[in-house]
């Protein structure tokens, strides 16, 4: 028996080889190269000189670049807080719906995922621009006399971020509220807790993993979604993402870009690690 088992396993090796090869060469390889690159020196053009140095990391500490990290962080934080405030109740209410409504709401929620995010952002450009719909409506209602400058501003970027990332928060809160045992809430009410107290001590605590995983699913991408800041913010705010892109293309300082990427990656992993520590969960709620 054990011999056939061994034979069975060894004869399955051919199946795994493409994955092993591809993953090692095109996923692990580039990431290792990125770390190596971050210690190199920029040469002329896209060339790199292999004199190991910490210069690139020191450069990040330059006030200009620290400012970029701070601004990215601030923007990500602002967007994430708004996403939490908007998305948590939505996911929570959705879990309380009847089965048939749940299905409909899920479909409505998933459909935008399948529409190119650029298309959806373009819709916001039409709405927010100077002679756009929102200004037109506000003017007709007599709320403003002169069109507001809505597009290419900080709030416009936040709108874009919130818009693109909100479904992730809703889905992860929903999937954790779905599993909530509502009789626990009832028990709390029966024992004399008010509506708010019952929610706070029971429902909120039990859906916290969903909320936290939503925070990670929205916070991490919002540090890197440079095209939102580009399209809706008109390059007014430089995010870490835009900085990396600029260094890779116009700036031609690849080692510096690599160092920025390494730092961003460390920040990302720290957040995921923190999440796992807090919730004791291995996989993020709401994906997979």
């Amino acid at each position: 028996m054990s011999r056939t088992k061994i034979k069975k396993h060894s004869s399955s090796v051919w199946m795994i080889l493409p994955l092993y090869f591809f993953t090692l060469v095109f996923v692990a390889g580039p990431l290792i190269y990125m770390v190596a690159l971050s210690f190199a020196q920029p040469g002329s053009g896209s060339a790199v000189e292999w004199n190991l140095t910490l210069e690139n990391y020191k450069k990040i500490l330059d006030p200009v670049y620290l400012q970029t990290f701070r601004e990215s962080f601030q923007l990500a934080l602002t967007s994430t807080v708004i996403i939490c405030i908007l998305g948590y109740p939505f996911g929570y209410f959705m879990a309380k719906m009847s089965e048939s409504w749940k299905k409909k709401a899920m479909l409505l929620l998933m459909l935008p995922f399948w529409i190119n995010s650029l298309i959806r952002l373009y819709g916001w450009i039409i709405i927010l621009q100077n002679r756009g719909i929102l200004n037109h409506v506000l003017k007709t209602l007599g709320i403003i006399d002169k069109p507001l400058k809505l597009l290419y501003s900080y709030p416009a970027i936040v709108v874009g971020m919130v818009y693109v990332l909100l479904p992730f928060m809703i889905l992860s809160v929903y999937s954790s509220a779905e599993k909530l045992d509502w009789s626990l809430v009832e028990a709390a009410r029966d024992l004399g807790a008010g509506k708010i107290k019952a929610f706070w001590t029971v429902s909120f605590k039990l859906t916290l993993p969903g909320l936290l995983s939503g925070v990670i699913l929205t916070f991490i991408p919002s540090m890197g979604l440079f095209f939102i800041a580009d399209i809706l913010g008109g390059n007014k705010i430089v995010l870490v993402g835009s900085l990396i892109q600029e260094q890779m293309t116009r700036g031609s300082n690849w080692p510096f870009a690599a160092a920025l990427a390494v730092v961003l990656m460390i920040l990302t992993s720290l957040m995921i690690g923190l999440y796992r520590k807090i919730t004791n969960v291995k996989e993020l709620e709401g994906i997979g």
Partner: protein, 268 residues
Amino acid sequence: MKKNSKFSSLYMGIIFFLMYLPVAVVIIFSFNESKLPVRFTGFSLKWYQELLGDSAMIEALGNSLILGVASCLVSAVIGTLGAVGLSRIHWKTKGAMEYISILPLMIPEIILGMVLMAFFYLLNIPFGMLTLLLGHTVFCVPYILMEVKARLAGMDPSLEEAARDLGAGSFRAFRDITLPLIMPAVVSGSLLAFAMSMDDVVISIFVNGPRISTLPVKVYTQLKTGVTPEINALCTLMLAFTIGVLAVYYLAGRLLKGKNRLFSIKKK
């Protein structure tokens, strides 16, 4: 207790309205006569005509479709075989390998795009369709891998063992038993991968090179410079296409599920 108030329905309604408002606006203005998306001046299909006459745009669309199909096929093979293989072997590196292969979904896209660009340059692979294909395959494989893995977890391993006991080789057992059973997961994973490939901007921007452009990259550069309602028309068509793919997916899922149900009835 498990009841929704009027407030919550209203709240969800407002959020859904805001979610679909930009999409609706894009579609409506694609039929607008005037060039400026400010007021609706009259129904017209002229932007669709102009779009069809725009050869650069059509070429980008062709590139995106070829790329989407190719990367989806390549990653379907790698991902499906890999998931089945991972369920069969017990190497020490298995856990690590699984983790690394799913990594592209967990790191910010910008990092993935940047490292791939640097890496392709290092390997001296000329930027173009090949680098795009490799780049897209990197983030497509995990979708298929995860879908198939989930499906395999719910599968009865004795079916394949029976085939092996009856003398089928590993390839034969895979082709005749395992593959038909995991097919729904392969299809749904591939469709997801295709959609992601058609949607990708960030990674494509880094690895496409100067000569080749995919549709999302083209749309992105247009949005940054001058926008014409041609973009609206394009967006509407892409949306129609997406809904078409979803419909096919839904129907295929139903058909395949039906087939499986038949299979399980026969088994009984």
